[in-house]
């Protein structure tokens, strides 16, 4: 029951994107299509889960004063692993996500979870927390990307739904990201209140 809570809170109740408003930079930057949002979300999920787990394993060995640099090194290691693997086996996705993959290192969600959760909880809970938060982030990014892609280019996951002549180009550009995010936050707040 408790582990299920650790896992599920990332989707709505403590959704990193819609409730904690962390990691706004990749959220707004990469979600011009559903596939980009999903790819970015899953890359972040891997980093979050692994770094949470490792931080939780070594937390008692790391002196308090150097915990932040140590966590950052651990996070950066996993980010580089993702970057190299993606470059080798998913070059297309790597190209469209570009700079945002190395920038996972400074994504506030990752260090935030390491500091707020993994450094105080046992390894298994931390791993599950990381997975839940990461999948919540993926869910949010995919949702945002799908809506923007649908309104802005008439497609979802590159499947054309209606003609390009009727699209609102604004939604694949930066202002569209802010508009859709705003409406989604309002909607999530409404759901949480109910």
């Amino acid at each position: 029951m408790n582990q299920w809570k650790n896992f599920s809170k990332g989707f709505i109740k403590e959704s990193p994107t819609f409730v904690l408003l962390l990691g706004m930079c990749p959220t707004l930057g990469v979600t011009s299509s559903a596939a980009n949002g999903l790819g970015m979300g899953l890359a972040t999920t891997f980093v979050l889960a692994m770094s949470n787990w490792v931080v939780s394993l070594v937390k008692s060995q790391i002196p308090d004063k150097i915990r932040i640099p140590s966590y950052i090194v651990i996070i950066a290691t996993f980010v580089t692993v993702v970057e190299l693997t993606m470059q080798a086996y998913l070059p297309g996705l790597f190209k469209s996500l570009g700079l945002f993959i190395p920038l996972i290192v400074v994504n506030c969600i990752v260090l935030g979870r390491a500091e707020a959760f993994a450094s105080k909880n046992p390894p298994l809970s931390s791993l599950i927390d990381g997975l839940g938060m990461g999948l919540g982030f993926s869910f949010a990014l995919t949702l945002l990307g799908s809506i923007r892609e649908l309104l802005g280019s008439g497609k979802i996951f590159n499947i054309t739904l209606y003609s390009e002549n009727y699209v609102m180009l604004l939604f694949v550009l930066a202002p569209g990201a802010f508009i859709v995010l705003g409406y989604l936050i309002a909607l999530i707040n409404r759901i949480k209140k109910a």
């Binding site: 651990i74 580089t80 693997t85 550009l173």
Partner: protein, 205 residues
Amino acid sequence: MAQRESTFGNMVIVLLLVTLISAGALGFVHDMTSGAIEAAKIKAQNDAISKVLPAFDELKPPVTVLPEGETDSVLVFPAYAQGQLVGVAVKTYSNKGFSGHISIMAGIDKGGNFTGYAVLEHKETPGLGSKMDVWFNNADKPGQNVIGKSPATTKFSVSKDGGDIDAITASTITSRAFLDALVRAYAAFEKTSGTLSGETAEKTN
């Protein structure tokens, strides 16, 4: 386990260990993936070359051409079918895009006409400048099509600047940059065409 104390010695040892372990792990992953990364890059390049040229069976190593007054060079890949030059694929670029650098693979046949192109890298506005990957390759709209044309007979600049090619609607700057890249490709083709066909003649004899 009790928390390790923040003494100087502890901090140095722990940080050293953390960085050493991650360096080791990264070295291992790098070794595992470097071959695949290289292969993926070459595959992407070869895919682009076969997309822009008519069928060929042999691709020679590229010739590097440095355009006048530039610091970055252009790569010319000669392609042969049964020992005869069918055309060259030119990896060209322009730095005049709306958001800077654009990299394009352009195919040019023996006669100097463009046979196709593929946009390799760009940061142009989605939905506007990014349309260049289809805009200039449209047989139904001869005004904006560049395929089958040569800068020797057609003026490769946008109609707004007195040229013969129609720019992408609302993306004149991107269109200028695109044509700039093609003209650069053509210049590189002209520079190398003499040496390339000579090489074939020797090979076929």
